[in-house]
Symmetry: C2
Subunit: 339 residues, 2 copies
DNA sequence: CTGTTAGCGCCTTCAT
DNA sequence: ATGAAGGCGCTAACAG
């Protein structure tokens, strides 16, 4: 027996207590190999009596495969990523795998640091937001040999597996829809100071279609703040104050757009008569609003689930990285009352 | 050199490459002990050349203190807990400590399992939501000797450190305020099927004051669904359909209450003339709504930060557990237009 | 300033 | 069905 009072009991302690070898304890605890019923019970009792808890640092160090998956998130302040994380956590938990995460705050440099730190835990896989990363990030991941999944976006070249939607196409679809409804004079409202690369792609797609239709992009306003309803309301108010205010606003996401709706409700501005709005994400709370926002619904839980399965499958991909899978999870344009 | 192509390089590999002992590599990598400038550079170059990444499983196993803190969250679907997690992550990241989390779905039994799994990682501390846990959960934590912090609530007996607010008092404060405004016929709307123990405490406090004032608690409706604006809107609609509809509704949180506001806005129900509402949390998005909800603002980021500092401080608490700290982080009643 | 020795707790491999 | 030996990669504690 050890001396330190708080030192957790080890398999050796149990072995002595149960009068068997440490190896037998290991076998019993994992349910591996053959063990006699009688020995098993003795060991289990001893373990319970001593309050034994496996040390996963030790087992993970010894085994080939670590029961860890690393996850990088741009922020925790946006439901979208909580939902991706929920999907990931759900399916990892089912496989007895622990997620470890880091928050990049939409910075690729920060992401690089985080990736390095997370790789030190020898995860079996890593999940990244988007397809854009620094060369060093890619190099570190390649060198480590862990499986990678990139979520949210499929417009670009993935390192290995990508599970998301075409952000540019989402922007195009929104533009086409708004053009069909007869709007000609558009504005764009975004946030995160352009650091949200997926939002930028949506805007590109949107603008491309608007331009080709010969319609007008009157305004492109991107604040530096994180996206939120409050920010969206404020920005909408500013934009509508201008003499050249557009007749339709495309927002980089639902939170901003919902803020816009709130501004209109508060100020008696007719939607979509005086102002048409469109968002992105298809967050659940939109259904509670007095005016339904036209938006694009994305499968966020699925992105998490698919990514978790992908990095977790033992399907060999060590050599060659030939198995590049791009999975378009698709989106759905939700036709609301806002345009 | 090793053979496996994907096997990550170890300190031994670098040692050979740099022509020094493995111990020297260890010293250089940690910046510990004395190393000559020249050797340091050789080692650092070799490390960079081979793409060395420290193996934290190994270092954590060897050292006394693990750079991990375990966190249990009731759900990721509620901003409140994302914010607590943000506060935690923020301050842990600064100390090079990695959070590992599990989601309990508001179940104490699930929490017990999660705690057991998380303790296997030998974290230096664990953060739990609320003060209610199974005996087994408490026993496992005590036996492990890790530091514990309980967040959100301070109404009860904490295991060691508690960082939160008095939930009952929050309920009382809301009741007092509504009584002052002249309301006499109340209703309560909650969710999570009563599994949210903090919400239950708020309701108790609320009801206590209402009863003592001789006012009426006409209705107590708790749905089984997770809390959301949509659910709040639906429940509010149901409640107002009844012949005995109350004049004022206390919601278990802002999401539900905001749903109530949306119902009223959509149906031309005067707030607070025909219906008064109060929520809880003080979420930022409330400021964007056309009608300001009266609510209680809570310091969620701080709860996370304080908890992180607490479980992370090396201040000895191994023996005796005498250092029970209860920190009331306080709340603020936000006087809106909804009552 | 650098190297050697030992061992963290567990699991793989090979005996028996 | 069980045990003994060895080592995963790293760092503490001593040499030198």
């Amino acid at each position: 027996m050890r001396l330190g009072k708080t030192a957790a009991p080890t398999m050796d302690d149990i072995a002595i207590e149960a009068g068997v070898s440490q190896m037998t304890v290991s076998r019993v605890m994992r349910g591996a190999g053959k063990t006699s019923r009688e020995v098993r019970e003795r060991v289990e009792q001893a373990a319970r009596r001593l309050g034994y808890v496996q040390n996963r640092l030790a087992s993970a160090l010894r085994e080939e495969m670590t029961p860890l998956v690393a996850v990088v998130l741009p922020t925790l302040g946006n439901r979208v990523f909580s939902e991706v994380l929920t999907g990931l956590n759900e399916t990892l938990t089912g496989k007895m795998i622990q997620p470890v995460f880091g928050v990049s705050e939409y910075s690729l440099e920060r992401e690089e640091e985080i990736v390095r730190e997370l790789l030190a835990w020898r995860p079996r896989g890593i999940v990244l937001p988007g397809l854009e990363h620094t060369d060093a990030t890619r190099a570190a991941i390649r060198a480590s040999g862990v499986r990678v999944a990139e979520v949210m976006d499929i417009d670009g070249v993935p390192m290995s597996g990508a599970f998301g939607i075409s952000q540019a196409e989402a922007g195009r679809a929104t533009a086409r829809y708004m053009l069909e409804r007869g709007y000609r004079r558009f504005g764009y409202i975004g946030s995160q100071g352009g650091r949200d690369l997926r939002a930028a792609k949506r805007y590109s797609g949107f603008w491309e279609v608007i331009r080709e239709a010969g319609a007008q992009m009157a305004l492109h306003q991107v604040s530096d703040a994180p996206s939120s309803m409050v920010e969206g309301r404020k920005m909408t108010a500013d934009v509508l104050d201008r003499s050249d205010a557009p007749e339709a606003l495309y927002y980089s996401n639902d939170d901003l757009a919902a803020g816009g709706i709130m501004h209109c409700l508060s100020n008696g501005i007719d939607i979509p008569g005086s102002l048409a709005l469109a968002g992105f994400n298809g967050l659940a709370f939109l259904e509670a609003l007095p005016i339904r926002l036209t938006t694009i619904e994305t499968p966020r839980l699925d992105m998490g689930r698919r990514a978790a399965l992908y990095v977790t499958n033992s399907r060999n991909s060590q050599d060659g990285w030939a198995d590049t899978d791009v999975v378009d999870l698709g989106f759905r344009l939700v036709h609301g009352d806002s345009c």
